[in-house]
């Protein structure tokens, strides 16, 4: 008889202090202020007088073990052997000695890791899985981000923006990438193409019907087989029916486009957190380098950089200059699609004489 199978130790989230830089352990909750000696470097001073320097570098997030080991070598040789990752997949090297900062940065440069992403920079783009691993993607994720970060590299290593810029991408309308100052997301433009032969076997029909946000799906018999039908007048092409029912193919090499949204802001600084707003759509999903999407993003960033005041996030800036001016300055077209018609849309209409000329 074979041994009883190993049962998991349900240890949950590990306690972090065992992996934390000693200076951070010692001064936990006792920090006084910080400044940024240069882009990519944070200098935090504790009430005790202790100091810690953080050197932040960009990574590709999806890393091979060699890249990770290389980063470890650098951390051991030039740093204190302690690192952390940010929510945006930047790596942070933690140093208790200022003298180590410059050599570490040099070493990172040699190995091709951009140092930056702090303060008023365009930091690493938050992204998702895409063609590399997901089962429902309309485009890739890592590739889109690599292509865009190549273009935005200069803005990552500098701190020339009015405020920090957080960009996100998502490879389907589900939006795992969340939202940010700028979000580049898949936007399907045609209803799903249904493979009626497979529906019966593959799909829980009631579940699929329930998944549609606009109740456009109804059960139907199609050439003798129980299947599903989509009311194409109602369908908003969101793709929500695809995960529970892969035969409802929403992804289309040509008609799955990219849309760009701006002004998503999660911090409570100044205004309350705000959702992203549509600014551009119909952008071709064009691998391997998505030049059309890159052009839109760069135009928006250049305009923001030029026109916004210090400390204005993308949403603060647009709030001040107004949407008419935003479309004027970015030279993006304003269309009927920009006028909301989803629940609570009235909230988005201008019910005032507040107009900029």
């Amino acid at each position: 008889m074979s041994a009883a199978p190993r049962m998991p130790i349900e240890s949950g989230v590990p306690e972090p202090f065992q992996y934390m830089h000693p200076t951070m352990q010692k001064n936990f909750g006792q920090w006084k202020y910080h400044d940024r000696p240069r882009p990519g470097v944070l200098h935090h001073v504790a009430k005790s007088g202790d100091q810690i320097w953080t050197v932040r570098a960009g990574t590709q997030r999806q890393m091979d073990v060699y890249t990770i080991r290389k980063l470890c070598d650098i951390a051991d040789k030039f740093g204190d052997g302690f690192v952390r990752f940010t929510i945006r997949s930047n790596i942070e090297f933690l140093l208790s000695d200022e003298a180590k900062v410059a050599p570490l940065i040099e070493a990172l440069g040699k190995e091709g890791f951009p140092v930056g992403g702090t303060g008023n920079s365009v930091t690493m783009i938050a992204h998702t899985q895409g063609w590399l691993h997901c089962d429902i993607p309309g485009t890739d994720a890592s590739g889109v981000v690599k292509a865009l970060m190549d273009e935005l590299h200069e803005e990552f290593i500098r701190e020339d923006m009015p405020n920090r810029v957080h960009i996100t991408t998502s490879c389907c309308q589900i939006n795992c990438g969340g939202q940010g100052d700028i979000a580049i997301n898949i936007q399907h433009t045609k209803p799903p193409k249904i493979n009626h032969n497979l529906v019966a076997n593959v799909c829980e029909r009631p579940t699929v019907v329930a998944r549609c946000p606009v109740a456009a799906i109804r059960p139907a018999m199609v050439n003798g087989k129980p299947s599903l039908e989509v009311d194409e007048k109602k369908c908003v092409c969101c793709g929500a029916c695809f995960p529970p029912c892969p035969p409802m193919q929403i992804n289309d090499p040509e008609h799955s486009k990219l849309a760009v949204w701006v002004g998503g802001n999660h911090s409570n600084a100044r205004s309350k957190p705000s959702f992203q707003k549509l600014v551009a759509a119909g952008i071709p999903n064009n691998p391997p380098r998505w030049p059309e999407a890159a052009a839109v993003i760069k135009k928006i960033l250049a305009t923001y950089k030029k026109d916004a005041k210090d400390w204005e996030r993308m949403n603060d800036w647009i709030e001040r200059i107004g949407w008419a001016r935003f479309f004027e300055l970015t030279e993006l077209p304003f269309t009927k699609f920009h006028i909301d018609n989803w629940r609570g849309a009235r909230r988005s209409l201008n019910a005032s004489a507040h107009i900029r000329f």
């Binding site: 119909g282 107004g322 949407w323 201008n350 107009i355």
Partner: protein, 420 residues
């Protein structure tokens, strides 16, 4: 010798106190021996006292009007009957109101007011309200037989009935250009052109529901137009506001920097104001939203620019039945100089009313219709192009079918080119 007064212990309590009392006024009429309205008012007081006692109203509607018109009179018949089903207060059993439109801006000579009083003491109760919430003079309380002759006399004086029922309603315009430095428009002209071009829709109610015009000369909106009109016309300006820096310095000197910062600079909704270290003011005119605040506070130093015009909003109304609705911008800026300009404004109103007449459900207001069919369809229906000034922000939801994007984008660039 007149019929006796009814005891009115409750409403009598409304005679004391510093504010002018409508009860005292009614009693004055009720004591007016020999006047045609005396008994009517005595009985009116009787019924009103009953309402105060029982906390119930006792009027019902009906159909009373004047020859040639389908509206403008609010008929009232008493529902308060005695045991033999006869009116308890017979002299006030009929108590109809004539809604008469005043001169735009509500200007009067004493001579005009006296003439109006004379007519109303002959045919009505002697009770007049200046004015109703929609801007009519309300001649309140006439028996059915007197409605026509009373109207005929007012009509001969140059006055006309206002709106009631599913019709174009009486409009309102602020004092504006007549006495206000903030005025950016000829309010009375806009008001009169709009209403007087739709008198047929006013006097012969045949719309799905009411339609109201209101005109304010500036964004202070003293006529509550944005919230209370189906079509609101608001004066505004397109160029830079006028700044008299010398006067600015006077304000800083008299109020102090801190107070200017706290009362003016920090109150600007778009941070378009900056107080310079030399006590002069810099205005970021491109980002000023014409809210009027700084101009209101520093009226001597700041004033609207010279390139004046109007913003048009549609769809405002009160609660029934989907909840209160503010109007929505449908024309961000419209110059009103030439006759053509004014005519094209009337045309916009015409298109809106025609579309409303054809597409609104019964008892559905313009704002409710827009809510139901969507702003984009409404704009297409009345022949206006989409514009970012019509929204406070673009859509947040990705749940929309956007094929056709390229066509729509092309339209925009075309319009831009034509504009250029």
């Amino acid at each position: 010798m007149a019929k006796p007064m009814h005891p009115t212990p409750r409403i009598d309590q409304l005679e004391s106190g510093p504010w002018p009392s409508f009860i005292t006024g009614l009693k004055r009429l009720a004591n007016d021996d020999g006047k045609p309205y005396q008994e009517m008012v005595i009985d009116l007081l009787g019924q009103l006292e009953t309402s105060y006692e029982t906390r119930k109203g006792y009027w019902k509607g009906g159909t009373v009007g004047v020859i040639g018109y389908g509206g403008g009179v609010i008929p009232r018949f008493t529902e308060l009957l005695d045991d033999n089903k006869k009116p308890k207060f017979p002299a006030a059993a009929e108590f109809h109101t004539l809604r008469i439109m005043p001169p735009a801006g509500m200007h009067y000579t004493t001579d005009l007011l006296r003439k109006m009083c004379d007519v109303w003491e002959k045919y009505g109760s002697g009770l007049i309200a200046f004015h109703g919430q929609s801007g009519d003079i309300m001649f309140q309380g006439a028996p059915s037989k007197n409605v026509q002759p009373a109207f005929d006399e007012f009509n001969e004086m140059g006055f006309d009935l206002g709106g009631a029922g599913p019709a174009v309603r009486t409009g309102m315009s602020c004092v504006g250009a007549a006495r206000c430095e903030q005025s950016c428009a000829n309010e009375q002209k806009i008001h009169r052109m709009l209403v007087n071009n739709f008198l047929d829709d006013m006097h012969r109610p045949a719309l799905p529901y009411k339609f109201k015009f209101k005109v304010s000369g500036c964004p202070n909106d003293c006529m509550n137009a944005i919230e209370r009109a189906d079509m609101a016309v608001i004066g505004t300006w397109r160029d830079d506001m006028k700044v008299d820096q010398a006067e600015v310095k006077n304000y800083v000197a008299s109020m102090g920097r801190k107070k200017i910062i706290d009362n003016v600079i920090t109150r600007c909704p778009t941070n378009a104001l900056s107080l310079n270290d030399d006590d002069t003011l810099t205005v970021d005119n491109r980002n000023c939203v014409r809210c009027m605040h700084c101009i209101n506070v520093m009226t001597k130093a700041l004033s609207p620019g010279d390139d004046k015009g109007v913003t048009v909003l549609m769809g405002g109304k009160r609660t029934l039945k989907i909840g209160d609705l503010m109007g929505t911008v449908v024309i961000p800026f419209k110059k009103l100089e030439t006759d053509e300009d004014y005519e094209s404004l009337v045309e916009v109103a015409q298109n809106a009313i025609d579309f409303f007449a054809e597409n609104a459900l019964e008892h559905e207001r313009t704002g409710e219709m827009i809510e139901r069919i969507g702003l984009v369809n409404f704009l297409e229906g009345i022949g206006l192009e989409v514009d970012p000034n019509m929204i406070s922000e673009p859509r947040q939801s990705s749940y929309v079918r956007m094929d056709g994007w390229d066509e729509e984008a092309a339209k925009w660039f075309e319009r831009k080119q034509q504009a250029a």
